[in-house]
Symmetry: C2
Amino acid sequence: MTTDVQRSQVSETGAPTTGGDVLTVPFADAPIFTRARALRPTGKVLPEHARSHNRSLVLQTLYTSGAQSRADVSRGTGLTRVTVSDLVADLIAEGLVVELGQREDARPGKPATLIDVDRGAFRIIGIDLSEHQRFLGAVVDLDGGIVSRAEVACAGASGENAVALVVELVRSLLASTTIPVLGIGVGSPGVVDTLGVVRSAPNLGWRDIELQSRLQAEFALPVHVANDANVAVLAEHGASLQDDLLLVKVGHGVGAGLIIGGRPVIGGGFAAGEIGHVVVGTDGGPRCACGKDGCLEAWLAVPRLTAQLAELDGDAPDAASARDRILAEAGRRLGIILAPVVGALNLSEVVLSGPAELLDGALHDATVDTLRMRTMAEHNRDLRLRMTEQAEDIVLRGAAVMVLSGQLGVS
Amino acid sequence: MTTDVQRSQVSETGAPTTGGDVLTVPFADAPIFTRARALRPTGKVLPEHARSHNRSLVLQTLYTSGAQSRADVSRGTGLTRVTVSDLVADLIAEGLVVELGQREDARPGKPATLIDVDRGAFRIIGIDLSEHQRFLGAVVDLDGGIVSRAEVACAGASGENAVALVVELVRSLLASTTIPVLGIGVGSPGVVDTLGVVRSAPNLGWRDIELQSRLQAEFALPVHVANDANVAVLAEHGASLQDDLLLVKVGHGVGAGLIIGGRPVIGGGFAAGEIGHVVVGTDGGPRCACGKDGCLEAWLAVPRLTAQLAELDGDAPDAASARDRILAEAGRRLGIILAPVVGALNLSEVVLSGPAELLDGALHDATVDTLRMRTMAEHNRDLRLRMTEQAEDIVLRGAAVMVLSGQLGVS
DNA sequence: TCACGTTTGTTAGTAAAGCTTACGAACAAA
DNA sequence: TTTGTTCGTAAGCTTTACTAACAAACGTGA
């Protein structure tokens, strides 16, 4: 087979020369890649960093796979038995791991000593500030099980008053447990930066509230603060096989949390997931509080849906189908917004969180249908849309995952 | 200030008990986080990994900041002078770094020996398969400068014929340089997985073509293959300050490449960025080749735009404004698709690649306006939409970045 | 019963990596 | 000429994870 490859040469000085077949291809001058970019804070890696990475790896293996021998961990991680023993000794000394005695089942060879994360050794405080009328809190164990709860009414509270309520809630939860607390995780509405500063949370009247550092100073414990939807998706990720995940949280507002390639997405302005005020479709829609028409929140927020459903005549013969029509239209709107996101990110799983009686029927089905109609079937064949299984504790447990992940490198 | 925190206790066995104020909070049973999830392939970290990371860090520092002394690199990386000297010695032995002699300017102390990446020591082969009528190729230097070019007509070629054309193109480029080649980068249309298998590229009649391994076997050089738009965004990222970046590539089709948190987004089905067949708006639109109405590609692809513009009467008094109306409508449609993506990811920079005469005027302005109208101003205040500065070489240079990044950990 | 193989966890020693400390070389300024 | 500064390198130390070897404890089969 003969092919006709045409070549043009560019001399090192930049002046184009021609060799063989002349070919005039328009091309930009070849500037070097910019050198203006600041050095990325990639940072050096020291031996001790490797050590802490491997430590987390051992912990993660125990955490997800349960009780096993040091030799099992060695096989699971690829580290040698010697190294695993060494790391485990550290973890035992810190009280994070315990020996459980010898394995029972009969096998040849020296019987194995089982070890596991001491799941009762620490507690985590989880706080959910996303509800409209109350702040929720819980003491959570290392497995995500909720040990005790507390809540405080917050209607009308704002600014410093609201901060004081959070402090009281945490104080009350800390008082309710004698077991050491690993840290405090907070899911807050609004825009929260990576330092745990709530840049803006209109509902709470917060603007640049340094919640993380203030709680840390108050309680002398590690504190992590993030947006409520971003926190919620962590809980879902802990219970999911997927490393790409979008969670849509429908409540008084509508927000989303996003994990891509196993990592939470923050956004350049720390506002990733803020899709509540993106306009849906090209045919108008209900007026939104933000002034625009047809924002997703104006279609989908719980108050809007319940108000619409309340207008229905419950005794009318077609009440059920009228209800479904309202919910289906909301679902369709959600699908319209999600389609470009699902397409651009090639997402395989989208999760809904919110009142199941609203989301889990006609609304869900309409969203699925709309997504299928508006994206390319071939690329998104295995897309799943489902309700969360975490129910109303999703933010509390996500907050626990955040602490677990931040303090132990486990999730 | 007295606050009324209410508590409910859950016994360790799971049965709810009440202490103090009784409070009935509905909550799901507290199942542990799933243990079903397979162990993530995080992998152990050995000392040698740390070493190669630090090696890349030194190389990256030299690459982006240019010629400097070992002591400068030490200050820039945080590594000690000793370690830097050691790493640099390795790099010099491999021919990647050269000493340039002593620094000229007069300063107290022993004069510094300048070192830099030997930017002329290696070449990279970049291949762009995304054009409709021809395959493009280039020899690229380590700075991204194009040294020589080649192209081959590919109209009608498909399947194995097309593969043979690519091989010929690479062979020709390799023959044109005597300088050692670091590797081969290929930007292909369609869906390409992480192993460089082109899962599906309808235009080329490709289905599960193992392009990477075949080229690697043929030329005994490192080969990287990825989707053309995903490759293009690498070039843009190399020249941008942003670590979150969306590039929309408008040509015979419409595709996107996405970088989030400095990492390319691949997608669960390796189809991230495939937004060409997402439906725009809720008011129908032109019939698309895929069968749906109003796909982005049906609005925005170059053939569609040129066809529409060709229908205009160029001598009519309002020809210019009619042209702008057509382009503005296309831009508006692009904005409608991008708004949910920009909102969900809180993107700070969106880049357009394609024919500037179509994209860079009314279309660009309409997209910006639409984005502003449909997203929340507060969160996306500093969003920028701009044309690429890489012109038609964007895929070729992106392919070079891919090789650079894959082989040297530099970008 | 008893030698043998198998598995576990530990001890001892080794290789790799980056650190601190120390030092000679080379220059500017006083 | 003296002083202070900066650069690059040498030597030795610490940390880390590795390999090799081994004792303990168990099942198996002659």
